[in-house]
């Protein structure tokens, strides 16, 4: 990793602190308590990707056919089950898209587009990272993503999840500069929060590590029924707190995992449970970002963080 790109430091420096109680109130459209969005990662992992010195794409030498085929399951079989479950519960998806999938599997893109799903970018391939890229190379990826999604879907990208969650310190600045409205790469809050960038207005959109099926199944290694249970519990708590100020819950998915036959029903039941509550706004990442700005929440949160910083500085001065 180039030292000038990512100098060692102790703080990410991308957001200010704001404690959960007594924040400016977020009011979602229709006075809903909670914005629930589902983010399927529709991904393409390469059979024979080039190596990146910071991260080797596959644990085994290329071709790692077991892991490759496991992921390919999502694009042959899993996505259909996932989509059917979401259709039944009335959820549109916000697709975290490896944009090369537009070239490889336009049939999947069309099925998503026909349902009015949003596409946001998850890089070109999930086997190409931004580690060790220079800033112009990383800008080229962002341009490619905008152009590819525009060409295949007519949509203008609003959101970004870095490929395989790889990042450089400048990543948020160049996303904002390119017109990206929200990033999914940070997990510090249950409400959207402004990100400190050099230009533009970038929001950190609550995505989730712990609701993410890849973490649940590949890292925590829990059972499908337990996944259904934690989705419902996460929802119950955020729904209750949403009575005071609007919250956001995201369920990030991977069709190769959640779309397995032994897993789909537990997930389907959980999202039907969510959809059965009146105070739920079933929405997309883009719509949440728009509502956040339109309701004045972005400006109010910024002001609250400035006030909090100022109060802190005064207190330090007194001490």
């Amino acid at each position: 990793m180039a030292a000038e790109a990512n100098p060692m430091r102790s703080d990410l420096g991308l957001y200010d602190y704001l404690p959960w109680p007594n924040r400016p109130k977020i009011v979602w459209p229709g006075n809903k308590r909670i914005a629930v969005w589902i983010a399927p990662n529709i991904e393409f992992y390469e059979y024979d990707p080039p190596n990146n010195p910071t991260r080797t794409p596959w644990a085994r030498p290329n071709p790692d056919v077991l892991q490759y085929s496991h992921r390919d399951y999502g694009n042959r079989a899993g996505w259909q089950r996932m989509m059917a479950a979401m259709d039944r519960a009335g959820f549109r998806g916000s697709v975290s898209l490896n944009v090369a999938l537009c070239d490889h599997h336009p049939e999947i893109i069309k099925a998503c587009a026909d349902r009015g799903w949003e596409f946001f970018s998850h890089g070109i391939y999930n086997t190409r990272y931004v580690y060790n890229l220079d800033i112009e190379q990383e800008r080229a990826i962002i341009r490619d993503a905008f152009e590819t999604v525009r060409k295949h879907t007519g949509q203008e990208l609003a959101g970004w999840l870095s490929p395989a969650l790889s990042n450089n310190f400048w990543t948020m600045d160049i996303l904002a500069e390119a017109g990206i409205q929200y990033t999914c790469d940070m997990f510090h809050d249950d409400q959207p929060m402004p990100v400190k960038v050099k230009s533009g207005k970038l929001i950190s959109m609550p995505y989730s590590l712990e609701m993410n099926d890849v973490i649940v199944y590949n890292t925590q290694k829990v059972t499908p029924r337990h996944y259904g249970e934690i989705i419902k519990r996460q929802f119950d708590q955020l729904y209750k707190e949403g009575d005071e100020s609007g919250t956001v819950m995201c369920i990030p998915l991977h069709p190769y995992l959640v779309g397995q036959p032994h897993r789909i029903d537990a997930f389907a039941e959980a999202i039907e449970y969510i959809a059965s509550h009146d105070g739920v706004w079933q929405t997309t990442g883009r719509e949440i970002a728009e509502a956040y700005h339109a309701s004045g929440a972005y400006d109010a949160m910024n002001a609250a963080m400035s006030a909090h910083n100022a109060a802190n500085a005064t207190e330090k001065g007194i001490r």
Binding site: A2, F44, D48, Q80, D103, D134, Q137
Partner: protein
Amino acid sequence: MSMPDNYLEYPARRYGMDHDRYEWSDLFKRKPIAWPNGARIALSIVTHVQHFPLDMPSKPFKAPGALSMPYPDFRYYTNRDYGNRVGIFRVLRLLAEKQLKTSFAINGIIAERYPALVQAVIEGGHEIVAHGLDMGKVHHSGLSEDEENRIIVEALRLLRETSGQKVEGWLSPGRAQGFNTPDLLAKNGVTYSLDWANDDLPYEMRTKAGPIVAMPMAYETDDRVVADEYFQSEADWVQQVKDRFDVLYRESAEYGGRVMSLPLHSWVSGMPYRVEYLREALDYILSHEGVWNAPAGDICAAFRSAG
């Protein structure tokens, strides 16, 4: 340091797959498959029978289940060998009780070491599938074509000579393949492999020596994966097997036949405390109408004749 510009070039960014082995295909848009006698589910039970050499190499990677303690690893060498001495006979007895004809994926070297085991499998009416030579001989792209071919030839020779069966099915140790593996398998008379985990139906792959069928084999409901990688209980394993079956069975009513695969290991499901959980899973599946149990080779043949 920065990356060369060709890191941003994508030579295989095109319609379909990024290799030429097979075409992309949507499981839910295929012509429905009819299994023999109108069955909805083809039940494919594949039991791994494995030999882990005490001196197995750790490069370029170890197959799952590999010995992991300092050499000499008495612990896991003997625990895995338990499956060959005891565990497999528990599994065989249960399968016989249920009158099931299944597949046993056996390391070639087992035929030399334990011919009585191979005989017992044959006498149970089961199919022998080649599971590579032993668990220390993983297939990968670092092997030359000749080196890899020699392993395949030897594994097939041992199993064919000992069993008298044609041995046309293949499962690589650790389900690992190199770029050449499907070509070499087809060249040596293998008609199907169980390595690829991307489908719930068989599909054809291209090789230099004609087509080879990729047979479905579940990855995440494999008894060893659930027990030794996920550390989940036996009851959780049974539940997931049942849930998997339920969804495939339901889909078969609308979309045609499906394959329900059940990968087992003699040293996992053959443990005394586990084998009754296997019975529970089998009883559940077999309580449904329209379940056709057969060795993977027969399911593969039915797929070919249906196509």
